[in-house]
Subunit: 247 residues, 2 copies
DNA sequence: AACCCACTGTCAGATTTTGGCAGCAGCGAT
DNA sequence: ATCGCTGCTGCCAAAATCTGACAGTGGGTT
């Protein structure tokens, strides 16, 4: 499908190439040598070193180790982007909502993202953002017994997850599941997963899970496919999946 | 404070200058001539025309009219930005939450913002984003009787707002207020404003407002200052502002 | 020790950017 | 209509920048 060495159009501005470079790096999980990157982009290795330096200067988390190659710490590079007033308001309000979630890691990420956006804005716009008069009400304190960050990571990496579940009746059981989605309701957070024991899709309320165990075992299906399939099963029988939030 | 003509450092890359240009345009509300912009950036007018063309090509809403000058339709230009996995997850989740809000205009803006982000992502990342397995539960249908977009615009532009309010007791009265904040709770949206009639800060539940009338009259205070003052009055007496959501 | 690799300095040639000039077209005021 | 101001485009040579090749240093792996 794709030639081993991609020959780039000669008319590619430097800034475009820099974005491409981040992208290529993202595709490789293992360290890649500068030589290989230079070939793939169709530039000399000297230029590649200069590009890497420029990207690092712009804050891209690229690490180079002698004898190994380059690795990009997981992340997304967004090119320059225009947003309307309302679009920025929406993003800020949404991030503020996330920042109040009980999932502390995610909440911190939302705060960081807002800070990054604020940092690059000119002064007058930053003021606007600080003063963006859309507030999120306080949430009922919800002490989550588990670290939802572990669940999100398992979902991202498509790995099996073990835990103890206390169902509506009060009885507990140990489960091993393939998690693929996490839904945020007003009061509870619900993980959707394929349950190995039951051999079916099941929903698990976060406040009834305990003894979370992340594993290294990748489950044999694609998250996206499972998501689709699961949504289909929801549409078929009843109204929607809001109610069957238990196991 | 600032010299009339800012002389730019000779070592400024083109891409930096383009961002600056958007910023300068934002500062001027009235149309600015290309000549003035070129002087302010320290480049020739020919180069300025090229820069404008490039920006327009990248989607910036800049409009030029012969005999007048350039105007930038309100909007924000974000430079290239790196986000971590979790930060992007936070932004996407937050925007999805906003997209489910009863405020239709704001919800649409959230959807648009997500689409813009998705559009510039490479294929594999867009998949990730589509499949980002963080979902927001459905909201209780809340038919807002008024268009919250009008409220948000009045807040943005610091203009007076008229409406009819039906208080907790059931009696209605016409109000003229200086709105400065809008808070999103799980079930209701509450506008915070200075009430001209009562000569005090008051909260108004969106579902009890009707006959909204936007005015052209700017109120005589800064939104940000009112926000600060209002927060101070909240901290002083009771716990917080969550409960006094009525007038 | 041999090899791979990241990284820097230098420098000439390729490429892009820039500024000045000329010219056309739309808009507003006189 | 005429004039002045302005947006916008093509052209070309000068200026600035980017690029590739070579040489060299130092760290890490085999």
């Amino acid at each position: 499908m794709r030639p081993a060495l991609e020959i780039r159009k000669p008319t590619m501005s430097r800034s475009e190439r820099l974005l491409d470079l981040v992208q290529i790096l993202r595709r490789h999980r293992r360290p890649v040598s500068g030589r290989a990157l230079a070939d793939e982009m169709g530039v000399s290795i000297r230029t590649l070193y200069r590009d890497i330096a420029t990207l690092q200067g712009q804050g891209a988390p690229i690490e180079g180790e002698a004898g190994l190659g380059y690795v990009l710490k997981p992340g997304f590079m967004l090119p320059p982007l225009m947003f309307s007033d309302e679009e920025i308001e929406a993003i800020v309000l949404g991030s503020r909502w996330v920042a109040k979630q009980p999932d502390k890691r995610l909440a911190a990420a939302a705060t960081d993202a807002l800070a990054k956006i604020a940092a690059v804005l000119p002064d007058d716009l930053r003021e606007d953002l600080d003063a963006t008069a859309l507030l999120v009400g306080p949430r009922a304190d919800h002490l989550e017994t588990i670290d939802l960050g572990v669940v999100r990571q398992a979902i991202r990496e498509e790995r099996k997850l073990g835990f103890v579940y206390r169902d509506a009746g009060g009885s507990s059981s140990r489960r091993m599941v393939w998690p693929f989605a996490l839904a945020f309701f007003d009061k509870v957070r619900v993980m959707a997963a394929w349950c190995e024991t039951r051999q079916d899709f099941r929903h698990f309320r976060a406040d009834r899970m305990s003894d979370l165990t992340a594993t290294d075992i990748r489950y044999p299906r694609r998250r996206q496919a499972m998501l689709r399939e699961w949504k289909a099963t929801l549409d078929a029988p009843g109204r929607n999946g809001a109610k069957n939030a238990s196991d």
